[in-house]
């Protein structure tokens, strides 16, 4: 049924380097400072008017191993991961081994020959140059300078950024780093002039005014725009990024931020917060969410809103803690015992993540249901420049009512939604119960009367939820022969692959909301002669959902489950 997980076979063979793009990969041990090189670099590049995209892959360890960061710089917007590397800067030998399959004949490798040994290596003595300024530790700044020199990034801003980064360690450290970067810059200029590295990227000054946002920040900011006032979590990669981002905003925004003892506590505490009028987010990954299963069912029973950010990574169990996968869709779909409605959203890019998360809070509150935001490690850790996000028209919609003495939390209404009061607001009592309950929220054993009424009420709400579904997004011609179907973080990669394929009869259907499945789905699928399902998991969980809901079985499943995201090349190949 399913294709075998895509495996990268060998060093990339044929390649046509588009001159208007440069793909740089930095690689080295955890602890060698790749992250900080990346953060300075990407900002400097963007502020100079380049389109830029950055993503990283790393091992589950604090030091050692091999991690790498990919930085794509381009005339056009770039927002996805490629296998191809134009310029590789390895900080050790292991990096080259680790990336072998992505090194092609045209890949330029620069590095310090005292650290790295490869036939293709162009030696730049980063360490020696750094030592000239007193400490080999400055070699990262030499590397930053080199890259900026290659790109001819404005020096002034770059050095200001470096100063800002290091000034907390004293003026001397800051200026030494700047000096190191300057040396690197000169080298970079040379490399470019000598046509060692060739490209012709056009800058766009308006990019300076754009923002840089990764998936975690987009979810965190979207949550705040949705009125999120509290976050409960237990650290778990890759869910921690959203938690950390919100903690960073807590003083400014006046948030409740609590690290709970375990994920069971997380979910139950968040439900307590919603009960008393808060708008809480929980952020976790598969294993942590597994522990919230019973609590999710509680949300269903007491009809509490809750927003769950579920950042996926490969399982089963601990699996590959720092890698990526889209393997938790079934878990989100079916977690919890007993029937209750739920909504599952799956942002395809950071802008969509912002708006979907914003909306998630309103949906959760309106329908009193759990809403999931499904991301993954690749999505949370990737970032790129995009035009400023406009919050015009956005509001954290209020649904809470003031109660009076006759208030009944589970009043049976026509549409199944009972107005939600909170304790302390009005004179009524607000009673919620995990047992089957009557309109007042009290335990019942009235099976034919109350139990059925309450079960049917929950079903009515679900029917309402089904009418308010975010439509799938079609990219490409309205008249297509081939339709690519995917969800979540594959979005930008598929878009780019479609462009590269150049085919005129291919379209792509992306699902910002995967559940309830939009009712248009079947019609879209039926129009196509050929369907291609793309999922970053082992079995095609979304394909199964589509089959269940529409009866259409997409047999052509392009699946990947080695812990890495799809690359543009892989998808290009799969759709060609």
């Amino acid at each position: 049924m399913a294709k075998r997980g895509l495996k990268q076979k060998s060093r990339v063979k044929k390649e046509t380097v588009p001159a208007n793009e440069l793909i740089i990969v930095l690689a080295g041990e955890a602890g060698q400072g790749i992250q900080s090189i990346e953060s300075i670099l990407v900002k400097a590049i963007k502020n100079d008017g380049f389109n830029v995209f950055a993503t990283k892959e790393y091992m589950s360890r604090v030091r050692g191993g091999v991690n790498s960061t990919e930085i794509r710089i381009s005339s056009a917007r770039v927002r996805s991961h490629t296998d191809r590397i134009d310029l590789l800067i390895p900080l050790n030998d292991e990096s080259i081994v680790h990336l072998t399959k992505r090194i092609g004949p045209a890949t330029v490798i620069i590095g310090d020959s005292t650290q790295v040994h490869d036939n293709k290596l162009m030696n730049i003595p980063f360490q020696r140059i750094a030592s000239e300024f007193g400490n080999p530790i400055y070699s990262n700044s030499v590397a930053i300078g080199t890259i900026c020199g290659i790109l001819a990034v404005s020096e002034e801003k770059l050095y200001a950024d470096i100063r800002a980064k290091f000034i907390s360690k004293g003026e001397e450290v800051a200026s030494k780093n700047i000096d190191a970067a300057k040396s690197g810059y000169a080298i970079g200029r040379e490399l470019y002039k000598n046509k060692i590295i060739k490209f012709g990227i056009t800058k766009d000054p308006s990019i300076k005014d754009e923002i840089l946002l990764n998936g975690s920040e987009a979810v965190a900011l979207g949550a705040l725009a949705g009125g999120c006032d509290s976050v409960f979590a237990y650290p778990m990669t890759p869910g921690t990024g959203v938690f950390t981002a919100l903690a960073g905003y807590s003083d400014k925004m006046g948030l409740v931020v609590e690290q709970v003892e375990d994920e069971i506590g997380v979910m139950n505490m968040a439900l307590g917060a919603w009960y008393a009028g808060g708008r809480a987010l929980v952020s976790t990954s598969g294993g942590g969410f597994a522990l919230m299963t019973e609590g999710l069912s509680l949300a269903g029973a007491i009809e509490s809103p809750i927003v769950v950010h579920l950042a996926q990574r490969p399982g089963p169990a601990t699996g590959l803690p720092t890698r990526t996968e889209q393997g938790d869709l079934n878990l989100a779909l079916y977690a919890g015992h007993g029937f209750f409605p739920r909504i599952i959203l799956s942002p395809g890019d950071v802008k969509e993540a912002f708006f979907l998360t914003q909306k998630a809070f309103n949906l959760a509150d309106k329908y009193q249901v759990p809403v999931f935001i499904m991301t993954d490690q690749y999505f949370t850790d990737s970032y790129y420049n995009l035009p400023q996000i406009k919050t015009d028209g956005l509001a954290a919609e209020k649904y809470i009512i003031e109660t009076n003495e006759t208030y009944k939390r589970y009043a049976l209404t026509k549409d199944g939604i009972s107005p939600r009061g909170v304790p302390g607001f009005g004179t009524g009592t607000v009673c919620v119960d995990s047992d089957e309950h009557d309109e007042e929220g009290r335990i019942t054993e009235d099976l034919d009367g109350v139990r059925l009424a309450m079960a049917d009420k929950r079903m009515k709400k679900f029917n309402l939820v089904k009418k308010d579904v975010i439509k799938p997004v079609l990219t490409g011609p309205g008249k297509y022969k081939t339709l690519i179907v995917s969800w979540g973080s594959n979005y930008n990669t598929v878009i780019e692959a479609m462009k590269i394929s150049g085919k005129k009869d291919i379209a792509f259907l992306h699902f910002p909301q995967v559940y309830p499945l939009p009712k248009e789905t079947a019609a879209y699928l039926k129009k196509a002669k050929k369907l291609i399902l793309i999922e970053n998991n082992q079995t095609g969980q979304f394909g199964d959902l589509i089959k269940l809901e529409t009866g259409i079985d997409i047999k052509n499943r392009v699946l990947k489950y080695n812990g890495m995201p799809f690359s543009v090349e892989e998808i290009t190949k799969a759709i060609s």
Partner: protein
């Protein structure tokens, strides 16, 4: 006089059960404290004791077995002005809920936790609970319990809980005073209450509790942790009263950024989009 907290009507408890006594004690305590009914929120897990909130005329969150403490903290975080009281069973609190018990004490929200300690699982028909005595026979522990019972007071004191007490249904007046002090105390207050389960615990009966307990001396000073611990360990006859108070702890909800400037409940606040725009601007 009518007790505004009393929700008259049937309960699901067995005749003769100690739960009735606890209910009366609590009702009197609530009335005497003159709490505003609308500002009291009750929580519980699942069990016979955990049905208690159903029988008061207050708002409640009757959650999952073992999970009353996390939502209680969530409620205080969302609205620190509410008076939050938990009433649940020994199995619920110290068994399934044990991890929350430890960490809620560390977190120290301003809540009161009343545990109906009947040394047995009542609702599920008589298995051992974490407080069951060694040798206690049940359909599961067929040769009697062999695991050391939890001493909830010693445990709470070891975690520096801010208020640790024990009462008994057999002493309604004194237990009521303890509960009142617990509710008035600012911080996490534990009141473990001995309660006979007449249906499933034929060993630790009303009579047994009477014979095996006594009150701490009137001049007992609950400020010293070591003394409190020592007294909590007494086993043959177990002391009742307030064992330990630590007034020097900060309270969970006060430490939250959300409530540093003021205690306005979260539901009253509105999100200022200008601030979001500022955060977005900073991403340039």
């Amino acid at each position: 006089m009518d007790n505004i907290f009393d929700r008259k009507g049937e309960t699901a408890w067995c005749p003769g059960c100690g739960n009735f006594g606890i209910r009366n004690i609590v009702l009197n305590a609530l009335a005497e404290l003159n709490l505003k009914r609308e500002e009291v929120v009750y929580l519980s897990g699942i069990g016979q004791a955990a049905k208690a909130p159903q029988y008061y005329n207050v708002s409640y969150f009757n959650g999952l077995h073992g999970r009353s403490l996390p939502p209680a903290a969530g409620i205080k975080a969302a609205n620190p002005n509410l008076n939050v009281i938990i009433e649940s069973g020994d199995g619920d609190m110290y068994g399934e809920g044990g991890n929350h018990f430890i960490h809620a004490i560390r977190r120290n929200p301003n809540i009161t936790v009343i545990v109906h300690n009947n040394m047995v699982y009542g609702l599920t028909k008589g298995q051992a609970s974490p407080t069951s005595r060694i040798g206690f026979k049940t359909p599961i522990q067929v040769n009697g319990v062999s695991e050391t019972p939890i001493n909830p007071l010693a445990l709470a004191i070891s975690l520096d809980a801010s208020f640790v007490a024990r009462g008994t249904v057999g002493e309604p007046e004194k237990t009521k005073e303890i509960i009142k002090k617990a509710i008035n105390h600012k911080g996490f207050a534990l009141v473990d209450i001995f309660q006979a389960c007449v249906s499933f615990n034929k060993v630790n009966t009303h009579k047994w509790f009477k014979e095996h307990t006594y009150f701490l001396e009137d001049n007992y000073d609950p400020k010293d942790k070591n003394t409190a611990f020592k007294r909590a360990l007494e086993e043959d006859r177990m002391p009742l009263g307030i064992f330990y108070i630590n007034e020097n702890k900060t309270v969970f909800e006060d430490n939250l950024a959300a409530h540093r400037a003021g205690k306005e409940p979260l539901y009253k606040r509105t999100r200022d989009m200008a601030k979001i725009n500022e955060l977005l601007e900073a991403k340039k």
